[in-house]
C-alpha cells in the first residue's frame, strides 16, 4: 500500500488500484491465455460467468496414472462439464524434458483415456503454471464465475499413487463444488497438493 500511496501522488489523483492477480484462494485467479491442442486461443477472461477447473497433468506421472487409470479423473470431468463447468487440462512440462509430449501426443493420450475435459492445452514455457504456483501433477484449481480462485491444492486427501485409495479418499474438488452449490464458502480453500513435480524448464 505504500506504493499505492506514492503512486497516487505521482498520478495526482486518489485512484484505487485493482488487486493483484495471485493464485491464492479467495483472490482473483491470475488471467492467462493458452493455445489449446488444436491451436485455438483460450483466454480465462472469456470464461467469466462459468466455473472453471484447472487440472495440471503429465501422462508419465504415476499420480496422474492413479487418477486416470482408475477412471477417477475422467468421471470428474464428465460430471462437472455436464454441469456447465469449464474443465481445462494443462501440461506444463518443458519441451526440453524427456516427458514432454507434443500437442498431438497429448491429445491422443487424452482420447485413449476417454478424458472429457472442455479444453486441453500445453504450457511448455510454464507461464501459466508459474503464475498459479502449480507444483505437482495433479494440482487442482477451481475458479468461480466471477473469476475468483476458490480452491487450490490437492485432488484429494489420500496422498498416494495407489489407485485403490481413490475410493476411500475425500475429493477436495467434489467437496468444494458441493459447498459452492449449497451456497456456502469452500471450507478447505487451499490444501497441500501431492504428486510428481512439474517439470518446468529452467
Amino acid at each position: 500500500m505504500l506504493r499505492r500511496v506514492f503512486l497516487s501522488i505521482a498520478l495526482l489523483a486518489a485512484v484505487p488500484l485493482p488487486a493483484l492477480a495471485q493464485a491464492i484462494a479467495g483472490q482473483p485467479a491470475p488471467s492467462f491465455t493458452l493455445t489449446d491442442l488444436d491451436g485455438r486461443k483460450v483466454a480465462l477472461t472469456d470464461l467469466r460467468g462459468k466455473y472453471v477447473v484447472l487440472e495440471w497433468t503429465n501422462p508419465s506421472c504415476p499420480f496422474v496414472e492413479k487418477h486416470y487409470g482408475s477412471g477417477n479423473m475422467q468421471s470428474l470431468q464428465k460430471r462437472f462439464t455436464a454441469e456447465g463447468v469449464h474443465w481445462i487440462v494443462i501440461n506444463s512440462t518443458a519441451a526440453s524434458h524427456s516427458e514432454y509430449l507434443k500437442p498431438a501426443e497429448q491429445k491422443s493420450w487424452l482420447q485413449k483415456q476417454g478424458a472429457a475435459a472442455s479444453i486441453a492445452a500445453l504450457d511448455a514455457d510454464g507461464t501459466v503454471g508459474r503464475a498459479y504456483g502449480a507444483k505437482t501433477t495433479p494440482h487442482m484449481y477451481v475458479i468461480d464465475p466471477k473469476g475468483l480462485l476458490v480452491y487450490a491444492g490437492a485432488i484429494d486427501d489420500k496422498r498416494s499413487a495407489n489407485p485403490a485409495d481413490v475410493k476411500t479418499a475425500n475429493n477436495y474438488v467434489v467437496q468444494a463444488f458441493a459447498e459452492l452449490r449449497a451456497g456456502r464458502p469452500v471450507s478447505a480453500p487451499s490444501t497441500q497438493a501431492y504428486g510428481c513435480t512439474i517439470k518446468y524448464g529452467s
Binding site: M1, L2, R3, R4, V5, F6, L7, I9, A10, L11, L12, A14, V15, P16, L17, P18, A19, L20, Q22, I24, A25, G26, Q27, P28, S60, C61, P62, F63, E65, G69, A94, S98, E99, R130, Y132, G133, A134, K135, T136, K146, L148, S160, A161, N162, G183, R184, P185, V186, S187, P189, T191, Q192, A193, Y194, C196, T197, I198, K199, Y200, G201
Partner: protein, 713 residues
C-alpha cells in the same frame, strides 16, 4: 522407459519373490531395500533396533517425513508378533533436492531409517521371531516411481545378543538423527511472510539449513539466507503462500555446517520448536524467494504503474527550466556540427552514437544515486529505523519535504547545489563533440539539472526509500530512461528538432504549477497524521511548516544577495524542525489517535481477536475491514461500497457483526492477523460465515461483490 503397467507387473513379480525370500536385499525399481537389525538376536524385555535400508541407484532419491513441494514420505507399516511394539521412524537429517523452481527434502545413496522395537519380557528363548513390515515409498530422479515391498526379518530369541554386521550402519544412522536443540536465545520472528530464526551459536556457524517438520509453513524452494548479526546467527526464511494454517509455532530441524556427518568440522543438527512472534524482519531472503508463486507484496499492476510514472517523471525532467536550454543547445550544436563536417559520412550514425552515450551517462548517474540511497537505507535499517507510513515521524518528515519542494517550485528559494555548473559558462563547456563529451553531458545533465530536478528527485526518493532494493533501482533507472528518451529520439530523428518548443517563460509557469500537487500531497499527509496522532500534534506540525516557510523565504533572500536575512533563516530552520518532530517525543501521539479512528462510522466496532471470537462463538457471521487512514484504496472502498445504504442494509439483514481493524498506526495484533491471511498490507476484507469459515473478498470492492458474498451466507 517401462510403462506403468510393466512397472506394476515387475513390482508384483518382485513381491511374490519377496514372500519366499527372507531378509535378503530386494530390488524394487531403482533401489535395493531390506529390513535389518542392529543385533543378531532378540533379547526378551529389551529394545531391538531394526530399520528399513534403502540403497538408491545413483541420482535417485526417496523422501523425508516432510517431502517439500512434491513427493511422499516413506511409510513403514509393521506386522509384529504379539506383545511387540514399534516406535516412530527416527528420520536422519535430509538433503535439499532442488528440481527446477521446486524443492524437495529427501535422501540419496545408502539410507537407513531406524525404528526401536520394544520386545516383551515373556518371549520364550529358543524361538525364532519374525518381524514383518510393509514399506511404501516414492522414488524419484526427475521422474517418479511409487514403490513398495513386503519385507521380513527372522531373528532367534536369546538371553543375550551380539551386534550384527549392520551395527555400524545403525550407529552412523543414529548420529544423523537430530535431537532437540538446546540453543541459546533462540527466537522466531515473522513480518509480512519473512521469517527470521535467530540464536546465539556456541561455535561459529558458516552454513545453516532449515527443514520444516510441518507442511504449509515455509516455502520449500525459497532461498534460506544465513546472516551473522550482532546478537548471533540469523536464518531468513519465507513463509508459505498461502499459509492454510495459523502460524504460531515454527517446528523443524536446523542443520549447521553440513550436519552431524561433518561433526569434525563443527557440523550439528537439532530440532527446534519455537513460538512465532510478530516483529521486524529485514528483507534479505525476499529477492531470491518464491520462484513459483509471486509473493504477496509487489503487485504486477502497481509495479507497472510505478514504472510508467517514473518514465513520465523522467520526461518531465527535460521540461525543467535549467535542463531544457542546456540540452537543446547541445542538440543544436551537435546537429549543426554534423551537417557542416560529416556530410560525406553515414548520415546519422555518429549522431546516434552521441545520443546513446548521453543516455548511458544519464542512466549511470541515476543508478548510482539509487545505489547510494539503498546503501543509506540499509545502514538505517541496521540502526532500526523503519520507513513506514505507520510511523508518525516519517509522515511528518514527508510533509515537510513536500512542503519545501512546493515552496522551491514556486521560487521561494533555489537549490544551490550544482548552481555553478548550471550557469551558462558551465553549460558551454558541455558543448564538446566527442563521444566521451556526450557521456559526460549525460552524467552531468543530472547533476547540472539538480536545482530544478531536485523536487522530482525528492518525490522519487521518498517513494524509493520505502521499496525493496531491486524495485527502487528499477524505478530510478526508468526515471533516467525517461529523461534520456527525448534526447535519444532527437538524435535518431534530427528532423524533429524543428518541432521543439523554444525555451521560454512557459517553463517557469510549468514549474510553478507543479508546486500545487506537492501542497495537495501535504494536505493528504497531514490528514493521515491527524488520524495517527490527533489534531494537537498536527497543529504543531503546521506551525513548523510556517516556520519552515519563513526559513525558506529568508534563505531565498540570502541567495539573491541579502545576506543579513541569513539570521532569520538560521533561527527559523531549527525551530521548524523542532515543531515538526516535537510530537514524536512529546507523547502527544499516544492518546490523541482516538480522536479520529477510522472506524467511527455507525454500526462498526473496533476489531480485536477476543471480540471476533466471541461473536463467532455466538454463531453470527462477522465481516472484518482491515483498513488504514493512509490507504487510498481502503478509503475508496469504505466510502463508495461499505458506506452505501444497500450494503449496510444487507449487512443488517444477514445479522453480520461489523468489525474494523484500523492499521493506521502500527498494531502487532493486526499485523499478525494479516499475516494469517498471508498479507502484509491493507485493505483486507474477510467474511466469516456462521460456521466460522473464511471468505476473503478482493482488495477492490464493488457493491456486487459484497452482496454476492453475503448472499452465500
Amino acid at each position: 522407459m517401462m510403462t506403468f503397467l510393466d512397472r506394476i507387473l515387475l513390482a508384483v513379480a518382485l513381491l511374490i519373490a519377496a514372500a519366499t525370500a527372507s531378509a535378503q536385499p530386494m530390488r524394487v525399481d531403482n533401489a535395493e531395500v531390506e529390513l535389518i537389525a542392529a543385533a543378531d538376536a532378540v533379547v526378551p524385555g529389551t529394545a531391538l533396533a531394526v530399520g528399513l535400508r534403502i540403497r538408491h541407484d545413483p541420482h535417485w532419491h526417496t523422501y523425508w517425513r516432510v517431502p517439500g513441494d512434491s513427493g511422499l514420505p516413506t511409510i513403514i507399516n509393521w506386522q509384529l508378533p504379539a506383545g511387540f511394539t514399534a516406535g516412530p521412524v527416527e528420520w536422519p537429517v535430509p538433503k535439499r533436492l532442488p528440481l527446477g523452481p521446486l524443492m524437495n527434502f529427501g535422501y540419496e545413496g545408502d539410507l537407513l531409517l531406524p525404528v526401536q522395537l520394544a520386545v516383551p519380557a515373556d518371549v520364550p528363548a529358543g524361538q525364532t521371531v519374525q518381524v514383518k513390515a510393509r514399506a511404501d515409498w516414492l522414488i524419484c530422479k526427475d521422474v517418479c516411481i511409487p514403490g513398495g515391498a513386503d519385507l521380513r526379518l527372522s531373528l532367534p530369541v536369546r538371553a543375550a545378543a551380539a551386534p550384527s554386521r549392520h551395527a555400524a550402519l545403525f550407529a552412523s544412522a543414529r548420529a544423523q538423527v537430530p535431537q532437540p536443540a538446546a540453543l541459546d536465545g533462540a527466537s522466531a520472528t515473522i513480518e509480512a511472510g519473512r521469517i527470521r530464526v535467530a540464536f546465539r551459536p556456541a561455535s561459529p556457524v558458516q552454513r545453516l539449513e532449515f527443514f520444516p517438520l510441518e507442511e504449509g509453513r515455509i516455502e520449500p524452494a525459497a532461498a534460506q539466507t544465513l546472516r551473522t548479526e550482532a546478537d548471533g546467527a540469523s536464518l531468513y526464511l519465507t513463509a508459505a503462500a498461502p499459509s492454510a494454517v495459523e502460524f504460531t509455532r515454527l517446528k523443524g530441524v536446523l542443520v549447521a555446517n553440513g550436519g552431524p556427518a561433518a561433526g569434525d568440522k563443527g557440523g550439528w543438527a537439532g530440532v527446534i520448536d519455537l513460538p512465532v512472534v510478530t516483529g521486524v524482519v529485514a528483507q534479505v531472503a525476499q529477492a531470491a524467494a518464491a520462484p513459483v508463486a509471486g509473493d504477496g507484496g509487489a503487485t504486477a499492476m502497481t509495479l507497472w504503474l510505478a514504472l510508467v510514472g517514473a518514465f513520465i517523471g523522467g520526461l518531465f525532467l527535460n521540461l525543467m527550466p535549467c535542463v531544457f536550454p542546456v540540452l537543446s543547445l547541445k542538440l543544436v550544436s551537435l546537429t549543426q556540427h554534423q551537417r557542416a563536417e560529416d556530410a560525406a559520412q553515414l548520415p546519422h550514425a555518429s549522431l546516434r552514437a552521441h545520443g546513446g552515450a548521453f543516455a548511458a551517462g544519464v542512466l549511470l548517474c541515476f543508478v548510482l544515486l539509487a545505489a547510494l540511497l539503498i546503501g543509506l537505507r540499509g545502514a538505517g535499517e541496521q540502526l532500526g529505523w523503519g520507513f513506514q507510513l505507520q510511523t508518525p515521524w516519517v509522515i511528518a518528515a514527508l510533509t515537510l519535504l513536500f512542503f519545501l519542494i512546493g515552496l522551491n517550485l514556486l521560487g521561494a528559494f533555489e537549490f544551490s547545489f550544482g548552481g555553478a555548473l548550471a550557469s551558462s559558462s558551465a553549460a558551454q563547456r558541455l558543448q564538446g563533440d566527442r563521444l566521451s563529451g556526450s557521456f559526460a553531458t549525460g552524467l552531468l545533465a543530472v547533476v547540472v539539472a539538480a536545482p530544478c530536478t531536485a523536487p522530482f528527485m525528492g518525490a522519487a526518493l521518498g517513494y524509493a526509500v520505502t521499496q525493496p532494493a531491486p524495485l527502487a533501482l528499477t524505478v530510478f533507472a526508468i526515471l533516467g530512461v525517461g529523461m534520456a528518451a527525448p534526447y535519444v529520439a532527437l538524435t535518431w530523428m534530427p528532423a524533429l528538432l524543428k518541432q521543439l518548443p523554444r525555451p521560454g517563460v512557459w517553463m517557469l509557469r510549468f514549474k510553478q504549477v507543479m508546486a500545487f500537487p506537492m501542497f495537495a500531497t501535504c494536505v493528504w499527509l497531514l490528514w493521515v497524521l491527524a488520524q495517527q496522532v490527533g489534531i494537537d500534534a498536527v497543529a504543531l506540525v503546521l506551525g513548523g511548516l510556517v516556520l519552515a516557510a519563513l526559513a525558506a523565504w529568508a534563505f531565498g533572500l540570502v541567495q539573491t544577495g541579502a545576506r543579513r536575512w541569513r539570521w532569520v533563516a538560521l533561527a527559523a530552520a531549527p525551530l521548524a524542525l523542532y515543531a515538526v518532530f516535537a510530537m514524536t517525543w512529546s507523547g502527544a501521539a499516544s492518546s490523541a489517535g482516538d480522536l479520529a479512528k477510522v472506524g467511527e462510522a455507525a454500526g462498526w466496532q473496533q476489531w480485536s481477536r477476543p471480540a471476533q471470537e466471541a461473536t463467532l462463538a455466538s454463531g453470527k457471521p462477522v465481516f472484518i475491514d482491515f483498513t488504514a487512514a493512509w490507504c487510498v484504496t481502503c478509503q475508496a472502498n469504505k466510502r463508495l461500497v461499505l458506506g452505501r445504504d444497500s450494503v449496510r442494509d444487507a449487512f443488517a439483514r444477514y445479522e453480520v457483526t461489523l468489525l474494523r481493524a484500523d492499521w493506521t498506526n502500527r498494531d502487532d495484533e493486526i499485523t499478525r492477523e494479516l499475516a494469517r491471511f498471508n498479507r502484509n498490507g491493507v485493505p483486507l476484507y474477510v467474511l466469516y460465515d456462521r460456521s466460522g469459515a473464511t471468505h476473503v473478498l478482493p482488495e477492490l470492492l464493488t457493491e456486487r461483490i459484497v452482496l454476492d458474498a453475503l448472499g452465500r451466507l
